[in-house]
């Protein structure tokens, strides 16, 4: 106990003292100047750009698209691809817990207090940022069925088949929901001990017999459980793991937990930026993907 108290108040060694500068003036002036610069910049911004004020709130006319504030658009974007409970609550909660847990997992002191201290850290950061952005954009395009649109356009454009449409037997590959609606689940059903598996999974009898409580699995709809929960969550867990594995084995850049943290944190930042930007600039009416100049808000 005593020794702990002593370490807390121990004077710093003389050698370190010589490396130190006075807070006044060296730091106080920097702070002062940066505060002035920010004050001026914000005053200028506020003089030229006005905060938005639309019509008075009216619960009876819904703007389309309705958007959350920009810093929640990443979650609103997730909402388009999975079950709301995952997108709105579970994923952000887990993300924040993992974020807070980083220092308890990466505990070595090596390289602290220095920008990009570990050997391959810049490479890892640039790589993680690029690949995570690209993958996110690709996933969003896929779930927006853009490949369907583009394939149709290209095949029609070549003139081979001027009214080509995406074949129905490939409907499951349109987007995530296509897994749910594009597959004829009844055809895939099979019987097992009195149950028709798949068909019956839409109303699986998991209640406790003789009780009236509403068992939550009673209406488990397997196809939508698959497309709105299993696949999105597996993607969110699986892609980062694959990325870590690839970067470690194939690129050989991972030497420590710090490097893994760098990779995953940077990926997180990239996904955050991409989804926020897509939500802000590329989502038009009905949350359809649209170029920014094509986005108009209508009131319904």
């Amino acid at each position: 106990m005593v020794s702990q108290v002593l370490t807390a108040v121990r004077a710093r060694p003389r050698r370190e003292r010589e490396e130190e500068v006075l807070v006044w003036p060296d730091l106080v002036f920097i702070e002062f100047i940066s505060a002035i610069i920010f004050t001026i910049a914000l005053l200028v911004l506020s003089a030229f750009i006005n905060a938005p004020l639309l019509d008075r709130a009216d619960p009876n006319t819904t703007p389309n698209p309705s958007k959350a504030p920009w810093y929640f658009l990443n979650l609103q974007e997730l909402l388009l691809h999975m079950e709301p409970a995952w997108a709105g609550v579970i994923v952000p909660t887990i993300a924040l817990i993992l974020l807070g847990a980083i220092p308890y997992w990466d505990r070595s002191n090596a390289g602290q207090g220095k920008w990009f201290a570990s050997k391959d850290s810049i490479k890892i950061t640039v790589w993680a940022f690029c690949i995570a952005s690209l993958l996110t954009i690709w996933l969003i395009l896929y779930d927006g069925a853009k490949h369907v649109e583009w394939t149709e356009d290209i095949i029609r454009g070549t003139g081979l088949n001027s009214d080509f449409t995406w074949p129905t037997w490939l409907d499951w590959a349109r987007n995530l929901r296509g897994l749910d609606t594009g597959i004829n689940w009844d055809d895939l059903s099979f019987s097992l001990g009195g149950f028709t598996i798949f068909q019956d999974w839409r109303a699986i009898p998991l209640g406790i017999p003789g009780t009236t409580t509403d068992p939550w699995l009673l209406n488990l709809n397997f196809p939508s459980f698959l497309s709105q929960q299993v696949v999105p969550v597996a993607t969110m867990v699986g892609l980062p793991l694959l990325l870590v594995g690839f970067t470690k084995r194939k690129l050989g850049w991972i030497h420590s937990r710090r490097d893994i943290a760098l990779l995953v944190f940077t990926g997180f930042i990239a996904v955050f930026i991409v989804t926020t930007a897509v939500g802000q600039f590329f989502r038009g009416q009905g949350q359809e993907l649209r170029p920014p100049w094509d986005i108009v808000v209508v009131e319904e």
Binding site: L27, A51, L53, A57, P59, P84, R107
Partner: protein, 251 residues
């Protein structure tokens, strides 16, 4: 460190110095003259109520702008600016469904500098979120979360969440279509939580949808509840930066 004690003698500078800083009024406020010796400079940092958040000396590498880019300090500065502009906005704004929108309109048109005030508050709020995010990135990429600073990183994550909540609760107050529907979208997301979703949504809104109860709750959280909580966490955050031995630096 290069500053030596001032040599004696009365040239013009010294006379000016005496005139400005050695008069009755100045000394009644600041108790001392301008701190022009290293000893006095350390004393002023240690004894001034605003400056004492700082240590008296810091390591050379940490005053380089490129080490922190002042991001944490600027986040705090935004918070201070938001407090000042926010208090002024409270003079003109009544959080009732009948008055809120009209008050904002009146603020923009009838109050001198009212529009500027509102703009400043709005853009500072956005700037604060961006600065906090950038600050988090600077802490991460400099490896400054490593022991013994683990817990201050956690405090930081809480500060980030509180910053978002402050901004979100403020978003509803103008009571325009943007505000109303953004909060409707946001609270619907909260309502989808697998446990206690509907309950937390009801608690936040004071009802099943955004209405006058929601407005008064958001207002109260925005102007007093969350600012108090975030101030406490900021105090802990700054205290821990000092207690953990100042900013992180290579071993």
């Amino acid at each position: 460190m290069a500053n030596a004690e001032r040599p004696p003698g009365k040239n013009f500078n010294d006379q000016l110095y005496d005139l400005l800083f050695k008069n009755y009024l100045w000394q009644s406020i600041f108790r001392t003259g301008y701190p022009n010796t290293p000893r006095n400079q350390m004393l002023v940092v240690a004894t001034n109520v605003f400056l004492h958040l700082h240590p008296t000396r810091i390591h050379r590498t940490h005053v380089k702008i490129t080490h922190t880019y002042c991001l944490g300090g600027l986040s705090f500065f935004m918070f201070l600016g938001l407090t000042v502009t926010g208090v002024l906005l409270m003079f003109y704004y009544v959080p009732s469904v009948e008055r809120a929108y009209a008050d904002i309109q009146a603020l923009e048109t009838n109050v001198r500098f009212g529009l500027l005030l509102r703009n400043l508050h709005r853009w500072m709020a956005h700037a604060m979120i961006i600065l906090v995010l950038l600050h988090m990135m600077r802490v991460f990429y400099t490896g400054a979360y490593k022991p013994p600073r683990e817990f201050n990183w956690v405090v930081g994550v809480i500060l980030f969440v509180l910053t978002l909540l402050l901004s979100f609760t403020g978003y509803l107050l103008p009571w325009d279509q943007l505000a109303f529907w953004a909060i409707t979208v946001g609270t619907t997301m909260i309502g989808s939580a697998p446990v206690l979703g509907d309950e937390s949504k009801f608690l936040l809104l004071g009802g099943f949808e955004v209405g006058s109860n929601a407005l008064i709750r958001f207002y109260t959280l925005h102007v007093i509840g969350l600012p108090l909580i975030i101030s406490i966490f900021m105090a802990v955050h700054f205290w821990r930066v000092r207690r953990d031995g100042g900013l992180a630096r290579p071993l």
